[in-house]
Amino acid sequence: MEFKQKNLQKIYKELLQDQKKLSLQGLKKKYISKQGFISEAFNKISSIKIAERAEYGKEANELKNLYEEISQSLSQNKNIYSTREKIDVTAPFDFNTKEEQRPHFLNEIGTQHPLTKEVEIFTEIFKSMGFNVLESRQIDDDYHMFESLNFPVGHPAREMYDTFWTEDGFVLPAHTSTMQNRAMRMYGPPPIAVVLPGRCFRNEATDASHEFTFHQIEGIYIDKNVSLANMVATIKEFLEKYLETSLEVRIQPSYFPFTEPDCEFVISCPFCHKAGCSTCGHSGWIELMGCGMIHPNVLKQADIDPDTYSGFAWGFGVDRLTMIKRGINDIRLLRDSNLNFLKQF
């Protein structure tokens, strides 16, 4: 198109109209992107006859000034800028909406996420056993994540937790144990019985069985004369209720700085009853969770006297149990939001 002053005037008029119709982004695209009208107008300046050039340049500048004025006023009012007609938000529906077009809920079958379903089942069982529910934080500090749990600064076990940190020094909990100290203070003095579900994060590469975002449920129980025998019985009771079958349990030694003794809770495979299947890796047994008697230093951090009280704690991954229960073979599906997956639950 040959650029003449006539064109510029036309563009000027169009711009005046467009400012009411287009968004800032739309205006940008139409006028000042590489092929935008105003950019073109300036690119063509050399092709204008010398005699007309001064006048052309003046008008092009005016056009540009107008654009800048409009864009500035739009970006200042960006928040409230709209090309739409205002509606009455207090009404139940828009003007002239025919009866059959009135707003309605989707005529579809909705779904609840399998993970949150499982969290609800777990907490319901623990509630029935007299445990309070307190959800975990998603950003916490070093004290709760490590120090209060008997991981002083420089403790080698800190490395076992591939923890994310924010630039301002906060920590993204790598385990729900980050809530132990808080739960003890909130629900103390003993007896204290709390389950602590929550989202956790670990800085590790993702594959079919590893996620950097996952769900855990922690539990603590503190009172006078609480024993390791009580711990095993309580966790077994919960699992038998959850899995609706009787189980054989084994306790194996493990290591956590915040428990002493530290244990791994192992159950007979509820699917094959020890015959060996793919779920238990053909061993007949499944290592389900870490647990142990709460370390005296952890109790002290919450001003609970370890000479008077003792307690136990456990924590397990919700993702893994959900996957086992539902036969989900790839952990990444849980946070992929694929309706083909979600609609199965």
Binding site: S23, I80, S82, I87, V89, G130, I251, S337
Partner: protein, 826 residues
């Protein structure tokens, strides 16, 4: 941590079958990664002697050998032409397995008699790699000359053994279990026997006599805080050669590469005791250093900025002042506890050595190893806190073996810099408390037997207390509870009879937000929406795409990738791409919602931590064409979420309320919404949610249709308001009336004002009434007006209204509406 059953048996008194070791370790010590029974791997493999050698007629690279295997000669073709007559080899007959292939990913390879390019090969001659003894695969593995021809290879090479790999994680606080002796001690106690450390460990003989010319050696420790003990000795007349088969075999089984007798000795003792040793070449230090009088000065000090060292890994490492180094008079010769230096390393020409046995601070080694990226066996051991008391026994044992296996002779005193030996710690155990803690009823005798079996010493005891001295190597034992764990482990967790706690019966506290979330989840999934969970991390670009400000987002210091480097400030941000992905999959009418915590910088709670509030956010998209705003669909869902609290919520158009009392979160979120077709939801004076249509540029960005709406509601704020229980109003016993009223009002009068006003009139002075909106009509020709048709149902508490009275009521209503709003009833 790798152990072999034969070494465990050699050091421990373990009353269990080999096959039970795995279970015992799992149940009493730590998890086992795998167990390999080597004896099966080498079945059928015998020692052979090359008796004839021929060229292969059809292949340049193959040799044809006659091998004598004790009772017969057989012909084997091998890809190694360097074998000589008289060489001893490992012969794999047809039918035997190639040991290496047991551990590769594919199926184990079975040897068959085959023809190789026309020459019969009756079996195979194994390489080091095929025999799973090391990495060499170029040559056939040669055995020493004295190897007995015809004997099983596994017997000669001590391979009738089982390897057990224990998970290091479970040993994190147990430096003492990084030596095989430590595991042997545990297994001895687990099977009920008393472990006795060998005398050379408990009472190492320190006074040794120099047996040859004294070599000049001086040790200066300038880093005592991080090196509590350093021992060195010089040894002369070393003859470097391969280690005897028994030692090579032990190392191979422990996955340590045999190198030469001196290095093998240090590695072997390190594996047994868990105390790393290092050998320096005395002469190399002398020639590299500028020390006076032909003297070796060993200086333990911090590294200096700019210093470098060529490690045994052939890499040049840059040192700094946070790393402990072992230096001579001028330069570093080793990175303490981590790796030796190439320039002072022992090789075939070495004649005189210095053996180092030292203890270093675990944290310092851990940090240096991490910073330098050097992960050696020695560093792993030091990281887990070792016992300085083990330095001397390890050195004494090394001297003994150096004399036996490398013909060395002692050429200096033992120089032992150990300024501050720690006395053994004592801990008193309350028997009753222990039993209460574990839920057991163990007698004092049982407890004291377990502890003495583990080499604790009982120093005093009465009926209820037991005081024990903690072995020097048990750095993990600090409290009585730590000893409780030892008792529980050795006694056996599974031998403890389980019992439910005796618990007080008391109600639990409400967790209102947890319950509201649960209810909301149920509600929305019942109303056709799908719950999703998305990541909390998001890319910086996502902020532009959704009109949000990335400066308000928490930034990760160590993100997995730049795409996951910021934390979302709004849940809609991560729901948007998921809507697009599902549309791309072919879904057209659907809604996604997530209940989670968005994080915005700059807001703190009473703990001084970033404020965390639960939101429910949703995007609903639809292909159904409509000229009406989809705001009303989102509003319908929002009202369902508010449920009984809906009566407290006011919807206010964003375009008309953006200057009011709006918190920064809502200010940021409103940039996602089109202000003319979206509303703030006010609870009292506070915005608790935004409902409406997304801005055009966001729809374009995610290729969403115009018929898309969204909401974002702060459930934590919603839950914090509570409604009082509603009280009963009089129940009318008279029939209701029902009339339809059509009102014409100016466009700018809000629907809710009219409806609220109507309800107020209807519910005053002994009467009651409800309204229902039937229609809202706007004539294009009179755009400044609208007509709303209400159906009114109501009545009086005290009588039945007559038609006349109803008419009067309507006229009263229309008068009031007219005077208040200028509304006409048509």
């Amino acid at each position: 941590m790798r152990v072999t059953t034969e070494l465990l048996k050699q050091f421990g008194d373990i009353s269990a079958k080999d096959s039970e070791y795995e279970k015992l370790i799992k149940e009493h010590i730590a998890n086992v990664e795998y167990v390999h029974d080597l004896s099966k791997d080498y079945e059928g493999i015998v020692i052979g002697e090359i008796v004839e050698k021929e060229e292969h007629p059809n292949a340049d690279k193959l040799g044809v050998y006659k091998v004598f295997i004790g009772n017969k000669r057989t012909q084997v073709v091998a890809g190694d032409k360097t074998l000589c007559i008289g060489d001893k080899v490992a012969y794999l007959p047809p039918g035997s397995y190639v040991p290496y292939t047991y551990y590769s990913d594919e199926k184990p390879v079975i040897i068959e008699a085959v023809e190789l390019r026309g020459v019969k090969s009756n079996g195979m001659l194994g390489s080091e790699k095929e025999l799973n003894l090391g990495p060499n695969h170029n040559n056939v593995f040669r055995l020493p000359q004295e190897a007995p021809v015809g004997e099983p290879f596994s017997e000669y090479y001590n391979l009738n053994d089982t390897v057990i790999e224990i998970e290091n994680k479970g040993l994190t606080n147990r430096g003492d279990l990084f030596g095989i002796l430590g595991i042997a001690r545990e297994l001895t106690a687990i099977t009920g026997n008393k472990f006795l450390s060998p005398t050379w460990i408990l009472k190492p003989q320190k006074k040794l006599h120099a047996e040859s010319n004294c070599l000049n050696l001086e040790i200066i420790n300038d880093a005592e805080a991080l090196c509590p003990r350093y021992i060195g000795i010089a040894i002369d007349n070393i003859s470097i050669k391969p280690s005897p088969i028994w030692l090579q075999s032990e190392l191979v089984k422990l996955d340590i590469k045999p190198i030469n007798n001196v290095i093998d000795i240090t590695n072997y003792i390190s594996a047994i005791l868990g105390q790393p040793l290092h050998a320096f070449d005395y002469d190399k230090i002398i020639s590299n250093d500028n020390a006076p009088d032909n003297k070796v000065i060993i200086n333990i000090r911090m590294g200096k900025e700019g210093e470098t060292i060529l490690g045994l890994d052939n890499k040049l490492h840059e040192l700094n002042d946070r790393t402990i180094v072992i230096a001579d008079n001028s330069h570093p010769i080793a990175i303490a506890g981590i790796i030796g230096g190439k320039d002072s390393s022992v090789d075939e020409s070495t004649k005189r050595i210095i053996i180092e046995s030292a203890n270093f601070d675990k944290n310092s080694i851990r940090k240096s190893s991490m910073n330098l990226g050097i992960h050696t066996d020695s560093a792993t051991k030091f990281k887990h806190s070792l016992d300085p008391e083990m330095c001397l026994p390890a050195l004494i044992k090394a001297i003994q073996l150096a004399k036996e296996l490398a013909s060395g002779s002692i050429a200096s005193n033992i120089i032992d810099i150990y300024p501050d030996p720690q006395p053994l710690q004592k801990i008193t155990i309350d028997i009753d408390k222990l039993n209460r803690h574990l839920g057991t009823s163990l007698s004092k005798d049982v407890i004291s037997t377990i502890l003495t079996n583990l080499e604790y010493t009982v120093t005093s005891s009465d009926k209820t207390f037991l005081t024990v001295k903690i072995p020097s190597w048990r750095k993990d034992i600090q409290l009585a509870e730590d000893i409780h764990e030892d008792i529980a482990r050795i006694y056996g967790f599974d031998n403890i009879e389980i019992e439910l706690p005796k618990k007080e019966i008391r109600p639990i506290r409400d967790n209102k937000i947890f319950e509201l979330k649960k209810k909301t989840r149920k509600l929305l999934s019942t109303l056709g929406l799908n719950e999703i969970l998305t990541y909390s991390f998001i890319s910086p670009e996502s902020f532009n795409k959704s009109n949000l400000d990335s400066n308000l987002a928490f930034k990760l210091k160590n993100p997995l990738s730049p795409e996951l480097s910021l934390m979302r400030t709004n849940l809609l941000q991560t729901i948007l791409p998921k809507v697009k992905e599902n549309r791309d999959r072919g879904f057209k009418n659907f809604g996604l919602f997530e209940i989670n915590i968005p994080h915005v910088k700059g807001y703190f709670d009473t703990e001084g931590l970033p404020k965390e509030e639960w939101h429910v956010s949703s995007i609903i998209t639809n292909t159904q064409e409509s000229k009406h705003s989809h705001f009303y669909i989102a509003k319908k869902y929002a009202k369902a979420i508010f449920s009984e609290k809906d009566q407290l919520i006011k919807f206010s158009l964003i375009a008309e309320s953006f200057e009011q009392n709006i918190d920064d979160y809502s200010k940021a979120t409103m940039n996602m919404f089109d202000p003319n077709v979206s509303a703030f939801c006010y609870l009292d004076k506070e915005v608790i949610g935004i409902v409406g249509e997304l801005k055009e540029n966001i729809l374009l960005e995610y290729k969403l249709p115009q018929n898309t709406c969204a909401f974002d509601i702060n459930l934590s704020k919603l839950v914090s308001t509570s409604l009082p229980d509603s009280k009963m109003k009089p129940v009318s016993i008279y029939p209701n009336f029902s009339i339809d009223l059509c009102l014409e009002s100016n466009l700018d009068i809000k629907y809710s004002e009219i409806e609220d006003f109507l309800k107020k009139i209807l519910n005053s002075a002994g009467s009651w009434g409800n309204t229902q909106c039937l229609d809202i009509y706007r004539d294009e020709k009179i755009p400044e007006k609208k007509r709303i048709t209400f159906r009114i149902e109501g009545g009086e508490n005290s009588k039945t209204l007559t038609d006349k009275e109803i008419k009067e009521k309507v006229s009263m209503i229309s008068k009031k509406l007219n005077s208040k709003f200028g509304i006409k009833v048509i």
